[in-house]
Amino acid sequence: MSTYGLQTYDANGNPLITVDEKMTRVRYTTVAASGVSGSVTLDDLTDITTAEISIPLNVLYINQVAHEVSRSGNVITWTAAGSGVDSLIIVFIYV
């Protein structure tokens, strides 16, 4: 643990955040409709590490699967997969 910088504590005095932490902040969120692919350009992502995830919503059928999501440069692309389902797309910054 570093001996400088910000630290936060819970009510019992246990450290919650230190300057050595890697934390996630949300940059972009959308719900991609079933069977529909799309993309978005996020100009402020240059030199920033992100993770792109997709989460299926309200799956009803055996072969429904969430969109595949990827990043190329500053463009985030989600591609419909399987027989399709609405998907929560989240781009988060992690460092």
């Binding site: 570093s2 910088g5 910000l6 936060t8 504590y9 819970d10 009510a11 919650l16 955040i17 300057v19 050595d20 932490e21 890697k22 934390m23 996630t24 902040r25 949300v26 940059r27 969120t29 993770a51 995830i53 997709s54 989460i55 299926p56 919503l57 309200n58 799956v59 055996i62 072969n63 699967v65 969430a66 969109h67 595949e68 999501v69 997969a81 399987g82 027989s83 389902v85 929560l88 989240i90 988060f92 910054i93 992690y94 460092v95």
Partner: protein
């Protein structure tokens, strides 16, 4: 980069808190034991904020099948697994709209919305493994080790699907999804869990992109 307010950087020089992008924080948590092959978890309080569900898996494969919504609110999620196994879960959102207590650091954005609350448990990353390639169902799998942290929570994305056909007779198709199980306190295995079977031969449903495993701290 904000031109006002607080910016916190970690020891690597990267911004971890500011007044622009909201941090993920714990919304609700709990555990359950499967009484069948799946469990629907209903949040104590539904929320319009999208949820991320991280799990601490048991010794047999489980997967988060989906999140549930109703009327624009996130109401819960479903996890598939094996009867008798216990799963611990945490649902995170970015960011709860109310402060958790009357102490600690609070950071708001220009709209007056909470970005960070020092009294809440944050979504903190210990390790990210990308490019996980399972191979085909049902035998493909990969073990991930995270020395330095024991019994963490995990988030796996994206969802994959596989199937195995038996020409029979009788003819049937078994469907699988990518799943996670605990191997030891410092390792997990990503593999396939069968979750449904139908009569007849089905094809064209395999979807098996590389996966990302987030190991939480």
């Amino acid at each position: 980069m904000p031109i006002y307010g607080l910016t916190v950087k970690n020891s690597a020089g990267s911004t971890i808190i500011d007044g622009v992008y909201k941090n993920y924080s714990l919304y609700e948590s709990g555990s359950f034991t499967f009484s069948g092959f799946y469990q629907v978890v209903t949040l104590g309080t539904a929320t319009p904020l999208p949820i991320i569900v991280a799990i601490k898996p048991p010794a047999n494969y489980v997967f988060v099948k989906h999140c549930t919504t109703s009327g624009g609110n996130y109401t819960g999620f479903q996890i598939n697994g094996s009867e008798g196994e216990t799963v611990y879960w945490k649902a995170y959102v970015a960011h709860p709209t109310t402060k958790a207590g009357n102490y600690g650091l609070l950071v708001y954005n220009a709209a007056g919305e909470l970005c960070f609350d020092g009294a809440r448990e944050s979504f903190k990353i210990y390790q990210v493994n990308t490019g996980i390639s399972l191979g085909v169902a049902p035998s493909g799998n990969q073990t991930i080790t995270h020395n330095g942290i024991e019994n963490p929570y995990y988030f796996l994305s994206p969802q994959c699907i596989g199937n195995v056909n038996d020409p029979g007779p009788p003819r049937w198709t078994v469907f699988f999804r990518n799943s996670i199980k605990q191997v030891s306190s410092t390792s997990v295995n990503i593999g396939w869990l069968s979750y449904d079977i139908i009569t007849g031969i089905q094809s064209g449903y395999t979807f098996n992109p590389n996966q990302t495993l987030i190991v939480l701290k």
